[in-house]
């Protein structure tokens, strides 16, 4: 099976490192970054198969990053993470082209399922 390359974007350092490690344990190639700006830089050099993006971040917001990603890499699937109970931001993100959104704290199996769905859908 082809190794999926995933870009994780979340300002919560502890969260991303733990999640990245878990995904790696499950055989994914993961690049974890802590801000939108960093994510965009990484994308310039190396495009993954999927992006998991937190909506609420200092600096460039998740929504802003999503817009820029969609401008450059239209077919790159993006999954959103939201801390809000409100689905409003997630829905908004989907309007801007996100594949789906997941609420934190998340279930890793759900995340993996969604990532595969998104990648399959983009191909």
């Amino acid at each position: 099976m082809k190794v999926l390359k995933i870009l994780l974007v979340d300002d919560e350092q502890e969260f991303v490192t733990a999640l990245a490690e878990r995904l790696e344990l499950r055989g994914y190639e993961v690049r974890a970054v802590n801000s939108g700006e960093e994510a965009l830089q990484v994308l310039e050099a190396d495009v993954p198969q999927a992006v998991v993006l937190d909506l609420k971040m200092p600096g460039l917001s998740g929504l802003e990053v999503l817009k820029r990603i969609k401008e450059q890499f239209q077919s790159l699937p993006v999954l959103l993470l939201t801390g809000y109970g409100s689905t409003k931001d997630g829905m908004k993100g989907m309007q801007f082209g996100a594949y789906d959104y997941l609420m934190k704290p998340l279930n890793i199996d759900d995340l993996i399922t969604k990532v595969h769905e998104a990648v399959n859908a983009s191909q």
Partner: protein
């Protein structure tokens, strides 16, 4: 003990609303009195003025009628006397002394005159010495000496003469007319005629007076010249004052001997001998006056009654409207305050939930990683112990997540919105909120929900609040180990019904009458008295209805009807 506490509470509450009710009662009385004064006062003044004017004009009318009658009758008398005097004067001039001396001739003349003029009784010729030398009539008066009589002397002064009524030689009331014929020789002779006073009575009778009234002639000395109904026999003095000599009839208001109030009308006849007197008792005047006054009073009383009725209804309506408006405003204000409070709580809850979610997510991932690592190292010491520890941490995270989601959901639902809802699901949610407290107190909550209930379009947050308020009340009403039953069913194709019943303390009729009023509470220290009034407001706003049945010591049952489709209401 509890019941006693409740009754004192209720009496205190009712006293409170009583004072409030009193305020509106006072307002109503003030408005009513004001309206009464501005309507009844002018009406009363008008009544008094009208009465006065009516009395005056009625009196004037009576007086002028009397004056007219007196004037007419006076003319009749004058005409009557004048005609007869002219007839006698004509005879005296048409015939000479020699002719009149002849009994045959005089007889012929007398018959002619009797045929043409009523009232003539006899006709006589008196010679210059005053002796009646010729006489035609029913009495034997030939040769009588009239030299000393008033008529003889009177006629010599003015040439003709009409006497007052007297009995004379004949002992029969009559008047005498005499005309003197003067001759150059100084041998003046007199033609003298008697006229009976039946004709006077006829003229008086023709006045058509009512039986209470009286009319008669008197002379200047006050002696009755015609018989009177009430004031004595002919030629007796009348017990009324004799008026001054004025030609115009005049009316005087006075009392007679018998004490009757009367209109006394006088009219002097042209010859100044007779005075026509009409007595009309005031009683008849008062009778018509009282009738008129009675009618006016009746109209007045009916008006007052109608005005009172209108004022009563109007003020009642007004005050009710004011009261309703006050209450609505109060409820709206409280609701606003309440929703403000809720929305700030909601904001805070959302903030807390969000802040807690991030560390939760970290715990989740770290623990997850721990688990992953443990699973990957089968030979590790106490691996199973760690695995189960990680598992229980993850379970706690799951629980905490449930709490934050609920908080966020609560905050979200404060925003009013319409969505398709499963009422049963809403009820389950709400029961979830109070399940803990119910379990602690061993209160059983039984759900009997109709399956496959149609989804309704309504506001979830509002509905939850309605159910939660009523459930909280039910929980407060039941004793420990009590029972609460929740049912849902389809009431009609447009309505869903939810019933929440408890076997708690129940309510009296008085309490039930007031439970939806703002500030009415039986939980004096704990309640704001707003829960049910807000609940009521919400249900009404959602286009629904709420009904309550209760019996002391048996329990209460609230039934909420909610329309499936929310009618558009702002």
């Amino acid at each position: 003990m509890k019941a006693k506490y409740l009754t004192t509470l209720i009496s205190r509450i009712r006293k409170g609303t009583g004072e409030n009710g009193n305020r509106y009662q006072k307002l109503r009385i003030r408005i009513a009195v004001g309206m009464f004064v501005v309507t009844i006062l002018p009406l009363s003044i008008m009544l008094v003025i009208n009465q006065h004017n009516f009395q005056k004009s009625l009196k004037q009318e009576t007086v002028s009628q009397l004056r007219t009658l007196a004037s007419k009758t006076k003319h009749s008398f004058e005409l009557f006397l004048q005609e007869r005097l002219s007839a006698v004067r004509y005879i005296a001039h048409a015939y000479n002394f020699e002719q009149l001396k002849s009994p045959d001739k005089l007889q012929e003349i007398f018959y002619t005159i009797q045929e043409n003029f009523s009232g003539f009784v006899d006709l006589g010729l008196i010679n210059p010495e005053g002796i009646q030398i010729n006489y035609i009539g029913p009495y034997d008066l030939l040769g009588k000496d009239y030299a000393q009589t008033d008529s003889y002397q009177g006629v010599q002064v003015s040439g003709d003469w009409i006497s007052e009524v007297f009995l004379g030689y004949r002992k029969f009331p009559h008047i005498v007319m005499a005309v003197e014929r003067r001759r150059a020789s100084g041998q003046n002779w007199i033609l003298r005629a008697s006229i009976d006073i039946d004709t006077f009575n006829e003229i008086l009778g023709a006045m058509g007076l009512d039986p209470e009234s009286d009319a008669f002639l008197i002379n200047q000395k006050g002696l009755l010249q015609t018989p009177s109904k009430f004031y004595g026999e002919i030629l007796t003095p009348v017990p009324l004052s004799v008026p001054p000599k004025t030609m115009q009839p005049f009316v005087r208001e006075t009392e007679d001997r018998q004490g009757r109030e009367i209109f006394l009308t006088y009219a002097n006849l042209a010859n100044q001998k007779f005075i026509l007197t009409i007595v009309k008792p005031k009683a008849s005047f008062y009778k018509s006056w009282y009738a008129l006054k009675g009618q006016m009073l009746l109209v007045f009383l009916i008006s007052v009654l109608l005005i009172s009725l209108v004022i009563f209804r109007l003020t009642g309506h007004m005050v009710r409207q004011i009261k309703d408006a006050d209450e609505k405003r109060e409820i709206a204000f409280r609701e606003l305050e309440h929703s403000h409070k809720l929305s700030s709580i909601g904001q805070m809850a959302a903030g807390v939930a969000h802040e807690v979610n991030n560390p939760l997510a970290i715990i989740n991932e770290k623990t997850g990683l721990m688990q992953d690592l443990l699973l990957a190292s089968p030979e590790m010491e106490k691996r199973d112990k760690f695995l189960s520890l990680a598992d229980s941490i993850l379970q706690s995270v799951e629980r905490a997540r449930g709490i934050t989601y609920r908080l966020l959901g609560f905050a979200r639902r404060l925003e009013s919105s319409s969505e398709a809802l499963d009422v049963n699901q809403v009820l389950n949610n709400v029961v979830g909120f109070i399940q803990k407290e119910a379990d602690d107190r061993n209160v059983s909550i039984q759900l009997d929900l109709q399956e496959s209930l149609d989804r309704i379009v309504s506001d979830q947050g509002q509905l939850e609040q309605v159910f939660l308020n009523i459930l909280n009340n039910a929980l407060a009403a039941v004793e420990d180990e009590g029972r609460i039953e929740i049912q849902s069913w389809e009431e009609s194709p447009e309505m869903i019904a939810v019933s929440i019943a408890d076997n708690g303390s129940g309510m009296s009729k008085e309490t039930m009458d007031h439970i939806f009023e703002p500030f009415f509470t039986t939980k004096k220290q704990f309640g704001t008295g707003l829960g049910l009034s807000i609940t009521y407001g919400i249900v009404k706003k959602l286009g629904g209805e709420i009904k309550v049945q209760s019996q002391i010591d048996v329990g209460s049952r609230f039934v909420i009807f909610i329309p499936k489709r929310q009618s558009v209401r702002s």
